[in-house]
């Protein structure tokens, strides 16, 4: 299996939200729906505060609880990768996958009612391009690539910098990394 991942440098992210706009434009999302979002995390006590900006989305987990819980196979892995997609023609809208995602990364498509989510822009990945959010970032804080390939930019960054993933304790084995 090819394991794609994202590495996002929280030291560079300024929380501008361009990734969010790029995703909405690229994937033509209806008003009010978002596949990615930016979180500002403030830690400490005044005046000793630190702030971190994080661009978040589906983590395309190696242990994808959403896929395991889907009763119809609508939630599935794209080709032989960890990219989690939803096949609208198989989705009943039972919403089990939404409840199964600890990151609340899924959404109900309006007005149709099937479930939608970040696709890592697999239509671009297929052509060798980066996902729209990664391409649009003005600070170049986001990187995309194959995690198990030691020479890839994402692997080299992970080898050289301190990092974390979100909600490691859920056991979902997320594949979006944050450099800290």
């Amino acid at each position: 299996m090819i394991r794609y991942g994202m590495v996002i440098d929280t030291q560079l992210c300024i929380g501008c939200g361009d990734c969010v706009v790029a995703c909405k434009t690229e994937n033509k999302l209806p008003a009010g729906l978002n596949r990615d979002w930016v979180v500002e995390a403030t830690r400490g006590r005044y005046p000793d505060l630190t702030t971190e900006f994080r661009s978040e989305r589906c983590n395309h987990c190696s242990h994808a609880t959403c896929v395991h819980t889907c009763p119809t196979g609508a939630s599935h892995l794209w080709k032989d990768t960890n990219i989690v997609l939803v096949d609208a023609a198989k989705c009943t809208g039972c919403k089990a996958c939404i409840a199964a995602c600890p990151y609340d990364a899924r959404l109900i498509m309006t007005p149709d009612g099937y479930i939608d989510k970040c696709t890592f822009c697999h239509h671009r990945v297929e052509k060798g391009e980066d996902p729209a959010c990664v391409s649009s970032c003005p600070t170049h804080c986001m990187h995309f690539g194959i995690l198990d390939e030691p020479s890839s930019a994402v692997s080299r960054l992970l080898a050289s910098r301190q990092q974390k993933v979100l909600l490691d304790e859920t056991g979902n084995q997320p594949n979006v990394y944050y450099l800290i």
């Binding site: 009010g32 979180v39 995390a41 819980t69 119809t72 809208g93 109900i108 099937y114």
Partner: protein, 331 residues
């Protein structure tokens, strides 16, 4: 201190600001499913233990309510789907890792068994319905078939009832992402609660003093076990991981404390328990129909609150200051 603030818009309907994908339809489905399990369990036991004369209502009238309750439950499950036209997709694959997939296939087995279990009782239990069915050759054939294979049907009924009852709980407890649901106590709790709902139906329907007395005693035991399981569930959560501890605290303070204690535990569990105990002691006969009604109410509330609590409990704690009404200004 850690404050995590959403700085871009996130207002995905039913997911933000807090998860609410399932409202009352799924609790109704779980309640009806549990009640079906309870009915089939009692009805099958009467056949297998050869107690049909002793418990006329359970043996002859109750079984028909299993397919009815199941149909109502499945209707509400259907109503909850947000992509309804694709409902048939449940039956184009079997996903062994998905409790919901197991559930859909279990229902396919439960349905005919619940009908066969009821079929043999129709002529005696609901003579007018029996006569109606007997007007059709196929109807007579089904009734005769179900009576010929009474014991086998009851054996299947017993096993499937336990599966169905457990399934209604496992459906929720399998969601590791929702701390309040992630406890093994939900499955036995929902099974016992389903049995208690079926016992309440018996108390509402029977005219037989011996049957009423026995099922009052059965229901007292079931409600007591239910209470113990609720306590164990809370202890289990309160001694679990950080997010589970937080989840358990929701019933002791905050927005769920009053619904949980004032609208569920007291009227839906404690009161029927006390009333049924009084009935056993021969007091308050005029109240008799109130305790089973309260027990049924408690059964529904258990599902409703569990579904709500599970969705509210989360690993995330983002502050979402966005007001969706602002979107309209942009349109």
């Amino acid at each position: 201190m850690l404050e995590e603030l959403l700085v871009t818009v996130r207002s995905n309907p039913k997911i933000d600001p807090s998860l609410g994908v399932w409202s009352w339809e799924i609790p109704v489905y779980l309640f009806m499913g549990g009640m079906t399990a309870g009915i089939m369990l009692f009805a099958s036991l009467m056949v297998l233990l050869a107690r049909e004369e002793e418990f006329p209502f359970v043996a002859r009238k109750l079984p028909l309510w299993a397919p009815i309750a199941l149909s109502v439950g499945m209707l509400f499950l259907f109503l909850d789907l947000s992509h309804k036209l694709y409902v048939w997709r449940f039956y184009t694959s079997f996903q062994p890792s998905s409790p919901m997939s197991w559930g859909s296939w279990i229902l396919i087995l439960v349905y005919p068994v619940s009908i066969l279990l009821a079929a043999c009782t129709l002529r005696q239990g609901y003579p007018w319905l029996g006569r109606l069915v007997d007007r059709f050759a196929i109807g007579t054939a089904i009734l005769d078939f179900s009576c010929r294979h009474r014991a086998v049907v009851a054996q299947w009924g017993l096993v499937l009832a336990v599966f169905l009852g457990f399934y209604t709980g496992i459906l929720l407890s399998a969601f590791s992402a929702r701390p309040f649901w992630n406890t093994g106590f939900l499955a036995p709790l929902f099974l016992v609660s389903g049995m208690s709902a079926a016992a309440a139906l018996v108390l509402l329907g029977t005219r037989n003093e011996h049957e009423r007395h026995t099922f009052t005693r059965i229901d007292i035991v079931l409600i007591t076990v239910k209470l113990a399981l609720i306590a164990l569930l809370l202890v289990n959560l309160a001694t679990g991981s950080g997010v589970q501890i937080e989840a358990s605290q929701m019933v002791f303070g905050g927005e769920f404390a009053i619904p949980f204690w004032v609208f569920f535990i007291i009227p839906g569990v404690m009161l029927p328990l006390i009333l049924e105990y009084w009935e056993l002691k021969g007091r308050r006969r005029a109240w008799m129909f109130i305790s089973p009604v309260l027990a049924l109410y408690g059964g529904y509330m258990l599902r409703h609150l569990t579904v709500d609590l599970g969705q509210t409990s989360s690993y995330l704690n983002y502050v979402n200051a966005f007001d969706p009404a602002l979107l309209d200004l942009l349109r």
